[in-house]
């Protein structure tokens, strides 16, 4: 099975792991929002670099890089080809040619505006994915639960959110077992599209029916342990803000002030010379 689907909390004792989940979640939201506000490759790159560094400090850099490479690099390559080169009239803002070359006797122009548009949107996606994965891969589910309960969110809502992260690895493990069992019963995986769809049923029906049985068992177990009892729930892992959290938040606050200053004085494209702000779709 592909490694992309086997992600989950990566245990560790790094600086990033020790940060409170609230700080990491704030970092994720903050970096995502500002990258969607600015239309500037330099700002996007400057935001991505610290996130990548943090992911390597947290020893989750490889996992994050794999996922980003799978999603963002093909998108960037495709948009550069489509908006910047092959179909110049496809992107309305194209006017500055970077390069002109011949392909099979046909003149191809590589445009700046389309390439920048594709790069900015691809980087936006990379930054938000990196921030999200940094939060998810380095935050212990117990600490997330603790933070959510401290925020006075009702326990049943907290349970619903946290249970997904428990269910996913269980179901992935089960689907692998079903897959191996079906393979041993002669399931052919190197087949055409319709057979592949049929194979999908072969995997999903036992998985779903098995899951329903387990849901019933789990609900009985929850009830027997006082899930709906009107008492205060105990927390296994406490999570408190430390000096590192305050330092990270202070850095974000300082940069927010700088970004607001840049927006008010220069605009939404502060560093890219000769490029105008482009609305979605050109």
């Amino acid at each position: 099975m592909s490694t992309i689907i086997q992600i989950g909390y990566v245990p560790g004792d790094t600086f990033v792991h020790r940060l409170d989940p609230r700080t990491k979640f704030s970092l994720f939201l903050w970096s995502s929002i500002f990258n969607y506000v600015f239309y500037d490759l330099y700002i996007s790159l400057a935001s991505l670099i610290p996130l990548v560094l943090l992911s390597f400090i947290g020893k989750v850099g490889k996992q994050i890089f794999k996922i980003i490479a799978l999603v963002v690099i093909p998108l960037f390559a495709f948009t550069t080809l489509l908006l910047g080169m092959l179909i110049p009239y496809g992107f309305p803002q194209n006017k500055t040619s970077l390069l002109i070359f011949n392909v099979l006797g046909r003149e191809v122009v590589w445009y700046l505006e389309g390439t920048v548009y594709g790069a900015v949107w691809s980087l936006r996606l990379a930054i938000t994915m990196c921030g999200a994965l940094l939060f998810y891969l380095t935050s212990h589910p117990g600490r997330i639960t603790s933070v959510l309960l401290k925020s006075r969110i009702p326990y049943k809502y907290v349970y619903v959110l946290i249970a997904v992260f428990q269910f996913i690895p269980i179901m992935l493990s089960e689907v692998q077992t079903i897959y191996q069992a079906q393979l041993s019963r002669g399931l052919n995986v190197n087949v055409g599209l319709f057979k592949r769809l049929k194979n999908f049923f072969v995997l999903m029906i036992p998985l779903t029916l098995g899951s329903i049985n387990r849901i019933q068992l789990r609900s009985i177990a929850l009830e027997s342990r006082g899930f709906s009892a009107p008492v205060r729930k105990s927390i296994i892992l406490e999570s408190d803000l430390t000096k590192s959290d305050y330092l990270t938040m202070a850095t974000m606050a300082g940069l927010t002030a700088l970004f607001i200053y840049l927006i008010m004085t220069i605009g939404l494209v502060p560093f890219m010379k000769g490029i105008e702000y482009v609305h979605p779709g050109g």
Binding site: M1, S2, I4, I5, I7, F28, S32, I67, L75, F78, T79, L82, I87, G90, Y117, G118, V120, W121, L125, T128, M129, A132, L133, F135, Y136, K156, Y159, V160, L161, A163, V164, F165, Q166, F167, M171, L172, V175, V189, R196, L197, N199, F200, F201, L203, M204, I205, L207, T208, S211, I212, I215, Q216, R218, S219, E223, F227, S228, P230, P280, G281
Partner: protein, 199 residues
């Protein structure tokens, strides 16, 4: 009974529904993974939303579907993907509606297909809107088929709105139809004692 004591909330079916919500989200997630592995040119990650609606009612299906997108936004897809959750809510509402009028019945496969086609067609407009706001109308489906349909439409019209809509249309019609069919088929195999929705 003293004044401080509180009545116990209803349990049983309610807890079963609470546990079913994350299970729906996880089933959508596993589907997304299987589709990636088997290279099926579709999403299919809404079938569990429809299944949850058919088995446990609108709120459970919608909550499970929305939760799936929140989880994906917090893990693999990144923040901009959370609005896809509204698509899952829309699918839950449409499934509930078609179920109420008797179209979501495995004994009436043509009606299931018609329901899937309607859901898929209407969904293309919502997808284009989400793509405009969060993805700059770039193709949101990073595979050869999705990119090819997007390129053809953009090359023919020069309009990114139309390219994005056409790219959605080329997949949503059959994707949602298959997803509805899977949901109805599996829901029909579920023992009656597990059906939690109010008829």
């Amino acid at each position: 009974m003293s004044k401080e004591s509180k009545p116990l909330p209803p349990s049983g079916a309610t807890i079963l529904m609470i546990v079913l919500i994350p299970a729906i989200a996880a089933l959508n997630y596993v589907t997304s993974a299987i589709v990636t592995i088997t290279k099926i040119p579709a999403f299919l990650d809404t079938w569990a939303t429809s299944f949850g609606t058919l088995v446990a009612g609108l709120y459970v299906g919608a909550a499970g579907g929305f939760l799936y997108n929140i989880v994906m936004a917090l893990t693999l897809w990144g923040l901009p993907s959370w609005p896809w959750g509204f698509i899952n809510v829309y699918i839950a509402v449409m499934t509930w509606f078609f179920d109420r009028i008797g179209w979501m019945d495995i004994k009436k496969p043509l009606k299931v297909i018609a329901g899937g086609l309607i859901i898929g067609f209407l969904n293309t407009f919502a997808c284009t809107l989400v793509s405009y706001v969060f993805f700059g109308l770039l193709p949101t489906w990073a595979n050869a088929y999705g990119m090819a349909t997007y390129s053809i439409a953009l090359g023919a019209t020069g309009n990114m709105f139309i390219a994005s809509w056409f790219s959605s249309l080329s997949v949503e019609l059959y994707d949602k139809t298959i997803a509805q069919f899977i949901a109805v088929l599996i829901a029909s195999a579920v023992p009656k004692r597990f059906i939690l929705k109010k008829s």
